[in-house]
């Protein structure tokens, strides 16, 4: 088993499949009266969050607690970090406290890589800058597999602000490793340069959402930050929504079995219409629930000494 999960690229197909299978076992636990396993009793997991992210932090916290780990939540706000302590000094402190795993959320791309060079424990990337968010990709892959039965051969359209999306990067890496094909859709200003060469040759780019939808098994809508409009990535919210928003008419172009995903939080009415978000095709609520299972699987396998 790998020691760290800094990038979805850390996972080969076998390891990723093992995590997804394990997540399935963890999901079964949620149906029990006592939702807890003793596996990580006596182990310490630190949630080191340099950015606000209640959703991800709670998900990791729930995952660690369901495995009986001791959880320390460390928020950069109001801590020594806000007084100027460096990441390295924080890492050495965590090291001295005997952290077995550090879950890090950080605004700087690559921060988990740096952290991993300073601590002995496992480092799990919970989102770094515009780089990656590998456990989000795992929960997305788990959701797709649960709904559609397989990942191999799936056509997945990822739509929107790919340039700034750590979710998109991790999904491209993980899903292509597991045999899916990806089409990135968005205005050219929001598609990163050399994306196929950078991440996976099994990646296509389209600027035309309507032409992609009929062949898509999965449509993953990305959140669009309103400040992108001020930066002239596109002319207006209205134009963006008309060209790249998923409304009911567009949803009808999808094949019958296709699902609609969103990592949340959503801009309802901007990148996704409320009717679409709340439709039976939407997996948005499931994704949240599956997040706990996927993160339990990651913690279990990284710290449990199995496999």
């Amino acid at each position: 088993m790998i020691k760290h999960l800094r990038s979805a690229a850390d996972l080969d197909a076998e390891t990723a499949t093992l995590i997804l299978d394990t997540a399935g076992e963890m999901a079964a636990l949620a149906g029990r009266e006592v939702k807890k396993l003793p596996t990580l009793r006596g182990r310490t997991v630190v949630n080191l969050f340099y950015e606000d992210s209640t959703r991800t932090r709670i998900s990791f916290e729930a995952a660690a607690k369901r495995l009986s780990a001791d959880v320390i939540n460390f928020s950069a706000k109001g801590s020594s970090v806000s007084k100027g302590e460096s990441l390295k000094d924080t890492a050495l402190t965590l090291q001295a406290m005997g952290a077995d795993a550090v879950v890090i959320r950080h605004p700087a791309s690559g921060a988990p890589h740096r952290l991993a060079s300073w601590v002995d424990g496992s480092v799990i990337n919970a989102g770094d800058g515009t780089h990656e968010h590998p456990t989000q990709a795992l929960l997305d892959a788990y959701t797709m597999r649960s709904r559609l039965g397989t990942l191999a051969g799936l056509n997945v359209a990822i739509v929107g602000d790919v340039l700034h999306s750590r979710v998109a990067r991790s999904n491209v890496l993980l899903l292509t490793t597991l045999g899916a094909s990806i089409t990135l859709v968005g205005p050219p200003t929001l598609i990163p340069v050399d994306i196929a060469a950078a991440l996976s040759p099994a990646t296509k780019v389209s600027y035309d959402l309507d032409s992609v939808l009929p062949g898509a098994d999965v449509v993953m809508m990305l959140r669009v930050q309103t400040e992108r409009m001020q930066d002239s990535f596109f002319p207006s919210a209205r134009e963006y929504s008309r060209r790249y928003g998923l409304d009911v008419a567009r949803m009808r172009k999808l094949p019958e079995h296709a699902i609609v995903m969103h990592p949340g939080p959503m801009n309802r009415g901007m990148e996704i219409a409320p009717e679409v978000a709340d439709s039976t095709r939407s997996t948005i609520v499931e994704q949240v629930a599956n997040g706990v299972s996927a993160r339990m699987a990651v913690l279990y396998l990284l710290l449990g000494g199995k496999a």
Binding site: P107, A108, S109, R114, D128, V193, L199
Partner: protein, 421 residues
């Protein structure tokens, strides 16, 4: 003053001969009483001249001082360095440039020539007192806001025009600031993979294109700092073919290292302009051989540990380079000694109008020279650097060539590979 007889040295790699130094110049016999230095197998080059050094004093003496930087320079085979203006306070007045110049004289290890800022506080708004710096004791001839581009085209035109009065030269850090907002590394495949905002090649090329047109329009001298892209080389090639008075430099690291190294997220590889692609490196090497790029300049940029041992995005750009420049160039060009002497000594001295440096080692010339052992190989050990900072990308790398001795006006600053003082 001690006389030195350097026996059996190969001038620019030629046949072994004896070289006598007396009274600060290259002399002819007799060599009675001279201290003999056995230089069998060594190559003598004119002392190296660096047009682009950051000595950090005043302001960041924890990272480097004029003295420690001078020692690093001497150990790298340099006899003159040009200290960049982005100190604190900025070298934008006669007072600050004279301070740097005097500190260099007191250190006495290399000739330290200050570069003056083009604009007040490097802010790009108002011309600094260029004339006062030119007529100061420091005799400034090169002006640069390095680290910042003089982005305003009208201000750049004015600067180019104004320095004509004292044969000055504007050295531009070519970076279109709007195209590099938030940029962390070269824009391309690797930046996309790493999720780091890209610094596109066109941000450099567009400014160089603009500036050569401005320099041509007003008939002034432009020097382009640390050229890093193949496209920049083509812009320069065309400008030179038209007779524009433009010169250009490339750093050793841009001749050797690529953006792939950023994949480690180790900020030791973070530099501005950023490391580019392998095809850019090939174009830069060819341009250096062709003469489209005139010189190698180190962009020696020492940084304290805390400014590098952090997240990539928060790290300061730059790497130390004085002590490794010649070995890196040797590894890139091979033993093309005359070309190395031209690109690292003669041409930089000529561009800067620096008398007494970059001259051939003929009788009567100032004895500014360095002796190199080309057969030696050295594993770079950061803890052994004379620079006060340790941010070298070559830690653990084996590089060819060892600087055995350096002489400044006939006096050794380095002997047996060690600084004399």
């Amino acid at each position: 003053m001690t006389a030195y007889l350097i026996k059996g040295v190969r001038l620019l790699g030629g046949d072994p001969a004896d070289l006598l130094i007396a009274d600060g110049v290259i002399a002819e016999g007799p060599a009675d009483g001279a201290e003999v230095i056995d230089a069998e197998g060594l190559v003598a080059l004119p002392g190296l001249v660096d047009l682009h050094t950051h000595l950090r004093e005043p302001g960041r003496e924890d990272a480097e001082t004029v003295e420690t930087g001078s020692r690093a320079a001497a150990l790298g085979g340099y006899t003159a360095v040009f200290a960049m203006a982005n100190t604190s306070p900025v070298a934008d007045t006669a007072g600050v440039v004279e301070q740097v110049w005097r500190l260099g004289r007191e250190a006495g290890l290399v000739d330290v020539q200050p570069i003056g800022a083009v604009t007040v506080g490097l802010a790009g708004k108002q011309l600094a007192e260029l004339g006062a710096m030119a007529t100061s004791a420091a005799n400034v001839r090169i002006f640069s806001d390095d680290g910042f581009c003089v982005a305003d085209p009208r201000l750049m035109r004015r600067a180019l025009e104004y320095v004509k009065a004292f044969d000055g030269i504007i050295a531009q850090h070519a970076e279109e600031p709007r195209l590099t907002e938030g940029a962390q590394m070269h824009e391309g495949e690797v930046s996309t993979r790493l999720g780091l905002t890209g610094w596109p090649a066109v941000a450099e090329e567009a400014i160089i294109a603009r500036d050569v047109l401005l320099a041509e329009h007003v008939g002034s001298r432009l020097h382009v700092c640390h050229v890093s892209t193949a496209g920049s080389v083509e812009v320069l090639r065309q400008a030179k073919a038209r007779g524009v008075r433009v010169t250009a430099e490339v750093t050793p690291h841009h001749l050797l290292l690529t953006d792939e190294l950023a994949a480690s997220y180790d900020p030791v590889y973070k530099v501005n302009p950023p490391l580019r692609t392998a095809s850019d490196v090939r174009a830069l090497r060819q341009a250096l051989v062709d003469g489209v790029i005139d010189i190698v300049a180190t962009d020696h940029a020492p940084h304290a540990v805390e400014d590098k041992e952090c997240e990539w995005a928060y790290a300061r750009p730059g790497m130390v380079g004085l002590e490794t420049a010649l070995p890196v160039v040797l590894s890139v060009l091979g033993e093309q000694w005359d070309l190395i002497a031209e690109r690292m000594s003669r041409a930089p001295a000529r561009i800067a109008g620096l008398a007494g440096h970059g001259t051939d080692l003929t009788v009567g010339s100032p004895a500014n020279l360095t002796l190199v052992d080309p057969s030696a190989r050295r594993v770079v050990d950061p803890s052994g650097l004379a620079s006060r900072s340790r941010n070298t990308p070559y830690a653990g790398t084996t590089l060819p060539g060892r600087i055995v001795a350096t002489f400044l006006r006939g006096e050794p600053t380095v002997l047996d590979g060690k600084a004399v003082k």
